[in-house]
């Protein structure tokens, strides 16, 4: 997927002025945020915090040992009968998947939800090669039908109201009119049924890979994840190299904290531990299972101070909690991963020059760290990114001029007094706005009036005993 994060401000402005989007995103983020609170702390606050720390330690140990665990995972997956492939770039992933599809003479591919497949623009590659690919997660199906991109890691179509989705189904699929989400869902269920039965290949992402057992783990709710890994003859799992964890005990904790943080469920409806192709005595399941381990910039991030972001388990809690995301929605962030974690991952993976506004798209309130199930210090990394912006000269030049002037003025009492007097006098003639390049600051707020007398003078008068 093309990175388009440098237009954050203009896309966010459109979002802020879109009443449908505002209705949908505030409903979605509120829902996610409040359900998470109940589920995470159902056994008390102390217990919930202890679980977060336990999960954080597990993910950190895994990332610390990443190369060793990847080798172990490869060895054990291979022993389980899984074909393991390594992809350095998005293009590698597309070529590998297309190769398998061509070898199998595939006409129809069924996909369950996978953010990394968005990252590597997989659907486009299929379409270019005349292979039909169908998203089977309801939200992703809506996204595909409407030719847009997901706006949330967990709830891909959070930015659309029920009315908009209804109108889309009526327009594209001749669905009869209804206002009932259950009827709309039943309509799509019927529509997608034959896709599962007829698909030649099923594609999934992966939430975790357990190194010691060689298992690819998936959490889903709708059942499409089980369908695409059970019905077609071939299953391909596309997984970022950072998703590996060490033990089955780690899995037990992480797979339970993920749904609590994401959707407020104790467990998702279906949690799979996939150990390979159908065994000889088993009645169903795929004959071939591939796992493509994807780098696509992750090994580069591993060597930076943003490596902590690789511990993310993609629950979306920081998106729901973020006051910026709550009003902009996800598309403004310009790539696959949005919200606070996206504001770190996008510049880290694709280059800071492609995402200069993202580190600023935060009030640094710290809520993202507070809700993170693995306690990622997102505010720290946003500050590091801002620092890098300054060091690399990627900030607005007016900042440098302003800060220099401020620095000089503040080192000399005389200059400070003079500057104050000039500003007090000069701003009287401003119509509540700052001129020229400073205008951005006063576009949505009035420029405050200067106090008629500075504190310095008030202090002097007070000492002399005059009433102020």
């Amino acid at each position: 997927m093309k990175v388009d994060a440098n237009n954050f401000v203009s896309v966010a402005q459109i979002a802020v002025n879109d009443p449908d989007l505002q209705e949908a995103v505030s409903l979605g983020t509120y829902n996610g945020y409040s359900k998470r609170l109940v589920a995470m702390f159902s056994n008390g606050h102390e217990h919930g915090e202890a679980m977060r720390q336990q999960a954080a330690a597990m993910r950190r140990r895994a990332i610390q040992k990443l190369p060793d665990l990847l080798e172990l995972a490869e060895k054990n997956m291979t022993a389980n009968g899984i074909k393991v492939l390594w992809a350095e770039t998005a293009e590698d992933v597309r070529n590998m998947v297309l190769d398998i599809a061509k070898k199998r003479n595939a006409k129809l591919v069924a996909k369950s939800k996978s953010m990394i497949s968005e990252e590597v623009a997989l659907n486009h590659a299929f379409e270019e090669n005349g292979i039909e690919v169908v998203e089977t997660d309801l939200g992703e199906y809506i996204i595909q039908l409407n030719k847009e991109t997901p706006s949330h890691i967990v709830m891909p179509v959070m930015h659309r109201t029920k009315r908009e989705i209804r109108d889309l189904f009526m327009r594209e699929l001749n669905m009869p009119f209804t206002d009932d989400a259950a009827e709309m869902t039943a309509f799509i269920r019927k529509h997608l049924r034959q896709v599962f039965v007829n698909a030649d290949i099923g594609i999934s992402g992966g939430n975790f890979i357990i190194a010691e057992s060689g298992s690819l783990c998936l959490v889903t709710n709708e059942g499409n994840g089980r369908m695409v890994t059970a019905m077609p003859k071939v299953h391909i799992g596309i997984v970022g190299i950072e998703k590996v964890i060490e033990t089955i005990e780690d899995y037990a904790t992480l797979t339970q904290i993920l749904p609590r943080s994401a959707t407020g469920q104790q467990m998702t409806v279906y949690m799979q531990m996939i150990n390979g192709p159908r065994r000889e005595d088993e009645p169903d399941g795929p004959d071939e299972v591939y796992v493509i381990l994807v780098d696509n910039g992750r090994s580069k991030v591993y060597a930076t101070k943003y490596a902590e972001a690789l511990t993310c388990i993609r629950c979306g809690a920081c998106l729901n909690a973020c006051p910026v995301y709550q009003v902009t929605g996800g598309h403004a962030y310009g790539w696959v991963y949005s919200g606070p974690i996206g504001a770190v991952i996008t510049p880290a993976l694709t280059g800071l020059e492609n995402a200069t506004p993202l580190p600023q798209a935060s009030s640094l309130c710290g809520k993202c760290k507070q809700v993170c199930p693995v306690d990622i210090d997102i505010p720290r990394m946003l500050l590091d990114l801002r620092h890098e912006l300054v060091e690399k000269g990627m900030t607005d030049k007016i900042f440098d001029v302003g800060l220099k002037a401020w620095s000089i003025g503040n080192r000399s009492p005389k200059l400070f007094i003079m500057g104050g007097a000039v500003a007090r006098f000069g701003t009287r003639f401003l119509p509540n706005r700052l001129p020229g390049p400073l205008g951005g600051w006063t576009k949505y707020r009035d420029f405050p009036q200067f106090a008629p007398k500075p504190f310095r003078e008030l202090w002097k008068e007070r000492k002399k005993g005059k009433p102020s």
Partner: protein
């Protein structure tokens, strides 16, 4: 020429470790261990959790009444998808279905309405069913038909998923990854992708009955 694999691993190995010092692993805590670990306590909690998930738990003291209940769910249908009967802990089910002329349908037949399975374990704290793929146990029986009936014995109910993992650890990792697929079912297929409204029965079964033999 080096491979993509070697280049990726090489870059990771060349990098400085991401964390200066790792905190020692905190003592293992359980996500949701029930307070009452007696057999009755676990069963009561399991039933309570299954209800919360909008599924239907039914406790039966004898096989006949359990079979009667299952036949009631099947109603007038002429076929069902089932596991092999020796995998379902309910003697007499096969005979009862035969007597009614109910056939075993093809697993991939998406016209069949009811699927009948057992489970390898159940978890009280979350109302989950633990399944593993294996001989005579088509995965699709709990997935493709819109109605799923799972039959378990009360003594299969464990406190939580962590307990099952502890059992696998004790038995050896081979007992965990021998089946092609281990999976947990917690509730019925659901979505809230359309305006956060919870809808059951998206692609998997929207109606789940858990028959518990006590």
């Amino acid at each position: 020429m080096t491979s993509a694999r070697d280049r990726i691993l090489g870059k990771l190995r060349a990098a400085q470790k991401p964390f200066d010092e790792l905190p020692p692993a905190p003592p293992k805590r359980y996500m949701s261990r029930p307070e009452d670990l007696s057999a009755e306590g676990l069963r009561a909690r399991f039933v309570q959790e299954v209800k919360k998930l909008s599924c239907i738990p039914i406790e039966h003291a004898d096989a006949e009444s359990a079979i009667e209940y299952i036949l009631g769910v099947i109603g007038e249908d002429s076929s069902v998808i089932t596991w092999d009967f020796e995998q379902i802990p309910l003697t007499g089910l096969e005979t009862a279905l035969n007597d009614r002329g109910i056939q075993r349908g093809q697993p991939r037949d998406d016209k069949v309405r009811v699927g009948i399975t057992g489970a390898v374990a159940a978890f009280a704290s979350t109302g989950s069913l633990m399944m593993t793929s294996g001989a005579g146990k088509p995965r699709i029986a709990s997935l493709l038909p819109p109605v799923h009936i799972a039959v378990i014995h009360g003594n299969q109910i464990l406190p939580d998923f962590d307990t099952w993992i502890e059992q696998k650890r004790a038995e050896g990792i081979g007992s965990f990854n021998r089946p092609a697929n281990n999976f947990l079912i917690t509730g019925s297929s659901r979505t809230s992708d359309i305006a956060m409204e919870s809808v059951l029965g998206v692609h998997g079964p929207g109606e789940v009955h858990v028959v518990i033999l006590v």
